[in-house]
Point group: C2
Chain length 413, copies 2
């Protein structure tokens, strides 16, 4: 059904799932301003029958490179360093148009699979901003400091022109400590402070990085960021090779288990230790050229699997990765969301309940984390607006995807 | 469309994918006897337009426990030994009816996700046999030797009554070396020889198993099976803790990466080493209570991921896991299948090409292994028969699933 009124109700949700609580057969009333008014028996305005759906908070893909969907399946069988060289080689010829077409493909895919917000590291933040407003997804993006490819002052200059909008906010992307000079790192730090945002950076991803940074600076990567007073304001992605004594410097950590495994970076992301220290831990798919999926359900499962395999125990459970993908994701982006609760923003995903069998209250979180895939998503609400409704958008998205792929046809390898 | 004639053609398949070769825009002619007649431009009998599909060989789920779909999401956060106790506790009360209802649920799920054959370890092989014939999926099952739960001579007696049918063949299931006495193992060996089948057994899954068997018998588990002359005829499942010197005794190995990771059994499945030795290596999801998915596409990807993470290299690639799930699967079950090629049995899965973008000949195998999920399957052919056609069966399967779940409602925990 169309939502005609401003206030409306998700009626009779089979389950409403937060990481720490499951409610059964309740209504969610969504206010004009996009926030959740009540959870319970109340009903206001138009009603969407949700008796066939399980409602979960929107998923935050905390680290990706959307334009790399063009390179999905292009070069899958190399370790990180060789792979990166291959990507950079192609990226030198990647036009802004092609990047934006690719980001649109990725956004269509992510949104229809339940991602309501994503953090993007690439070179087309203006395009991403327009697309975020077009599709109604929350996007965090910026130009990326990467000395081999771009003059840092150029990045700085362009970045300063980026403006926040309803669904978009600039972040300061730094590829890594090893691909940026100290001067570049200093520039990024200043920029993040002045733009009142955070630094989004790959850190301690490989043994090689640890070795090289230690050799060059006498310090490990996180130690270096701390020394430069950048650690507190950094979202550190990967951290497979972070040292135990560096954990005190980490405020925001993002785990990309699939990409780490696929690129054979090995290491241990210290999920449990970081939680114990109260660190904000989130999950990302990484780019579609290294994962190659953008499905946050698959990523949640893989995060549990990798932890259990690495630590030989079952300390990390479904609720941890569900929290990391919802509440902790929203904490990172600074929005009161990631929970379906009064006063939280209405970023909500509706899953078809029939796929989550045996459908039981005490199994629902497990069945979402360990068996669901993005294909089970039927509706997505961001900021109170129904931005994806399978019935309405599936065919539209399919058509648009076809057009976009045709545009890319002659320009991707 | 309906297939009215006996010979028919999958017309204009966008791609036909074997592990070592991809063909574009070709027809597959399927003979009356269920075998592939030609691949190319020929066309015979009715035609199914496959221009929107990518054809792959059917997937073999080489190890599962179908009835455990009832326990999906029931107890997800324990290591193997605690988990097994919990499962066994429930299984003591699991009625044959409930097992068969559960197997039917699992078969509906597997078939619609592209699995054309599976090897089942449980206690309801007669039910599985009927279901295999009902749904048109290939099934390999038997009673399971497990001394704590069943008197081995009873198992032996019941097993001897199992008869092969068109799509069903008995296998001799032994839970493990640690849950069977030497007398039971001897019984299983005899039985497999007399029934002209193989032994399907969990081996070297945990450190604990290695330790206990070494302590009890002075040998490692695979060494023990070799000493008992059982190794050659055994399909050894898990092998995360197999020792290097035991590899010479392995003929058939099955990897279940997701279950191993989820149950935190750690270890290293020596995929590459086994291939080097010419061992028949296959892949299984394990049961839906430990995985919790039955999706062989997800399992292929996880097999690559775990190998790369464990060995810190990218030696295992998409084509290895694709071969393990197709050609090697058919080799294990003794059928000339697992390839889309003249003279091979027509067990074929058609995937919607629109989900496999960017759709390119040299990326298609990657895009299947690293990004496809069972939800992309549109049609499944087994033995030349169209046994799953989304258009026709999706709604039928949904209804049947609902009925089955209602039957289980009061009997599962």
């Amino acid at each position: 059904m169309e939502i005609r009124n401003k206030e409306y109700t998700l009626k009779n949700c089979k389950f409403v799932v937060n990481y720490d609580e499951v409610l059964e057969n309740v209504n969610i009333v969504i206010q004009e301003d996009g926030y959740i008014k009540t959870i319970g028996r109340e009903s206001e305005g138009d009603e969407i029958d949700c008796s066939n759906y399980v409602a979960i908070p929107g998923l935050v893909n905390a680290h990706t490179h959307t334009p790399m969907i063009s390179l999905r399946g292009y070069y899958d069988d190399a370790e990180l360093n060789e792979w990166l060289q291959k990507m950079w080689e192609y990226e030198k010829t990647f036009t802004l148009d092609a990047m934006n077409i690719s980001s649109e493909l990725a956004i269509i895919e992510m949104l229809s699979k339940g991602t309501t917000a994503f953090i993007d590291m690439y070179f087309n933040p203006d395009g991403v901003k327009s697309l975020a407003e077009k599709y109604g997804i929350r996007a965090y993006a910026g130009y990326t400091f990467l000395d081999d490819l771009f003059e840092p002052y150029e990045i700085d200059k362009k970045q300063r022109l980026l403006k926040q909008s309803e669904l978009f906010r600039p972040v300061v992307n730094v590829h890594s400590v090893y691909s940026a000079s100290l001067r570049t790192l200093e520039l990024a730090k200043q920029l993040a402070e002045e733009m009142n945002t955070w630094i989004h950076i790959h850190v301690s991803e490989t043994r090689k990085e640890i070795y090289e940074i230690k050799k060059k600076y006498g310090k490990f990567p996180v130690e270096l960021l701390n020394e430069l007073n950048m650690a507190q304001n950094s979202q550190m992605v990967h951290l497979g090779w972070v040292a135990s004594w560096e954990l005190n410097y980490v405020r925001h950590a993002t785990h990309c288990p699939t990409s780490n495994m696929k690129l054979a970076t090995a290491g241990f992301f210290p999920f449990k230790e970081l939680l114990t220290k109260g660190v904000n831990v989130t999950i990302g798919t990484d780019g579609p050229a290294s994962n190659n999926s953008l499905d946050m359900f698959r990523e949640m499962k893989n995060a549990v699997l990798l932890q259990r395999h690495s630590y030989w125990d079952v300390e990390i459970k479904a609720h941890h990765v569900f929290k990391a993908s919802t509440e902790e994701g929203y904490k990172l982006i600074g929005i009161k969301g990631g929970r379906i609760e009064e006063g939280y923003v209405a970023d909500i995903v509706l899953l078809e309940k029939d796929n989550l069998y045996p459908l039981k209250k005490d199994r629902i979180l497990s069945n979402i984390a360990y068996n669901a895939v993005g294909e089970h998503v039927r509706k997505v609400i961001v900021n109170g607006k129904l931005v994806y409704d399978e019935e309405k958008h599936k065919e539209l998205f399919r058509k648009r995807r076809k057009e976009l792929l045709e545009l890319l046809d002659n320009i991707i390898p």
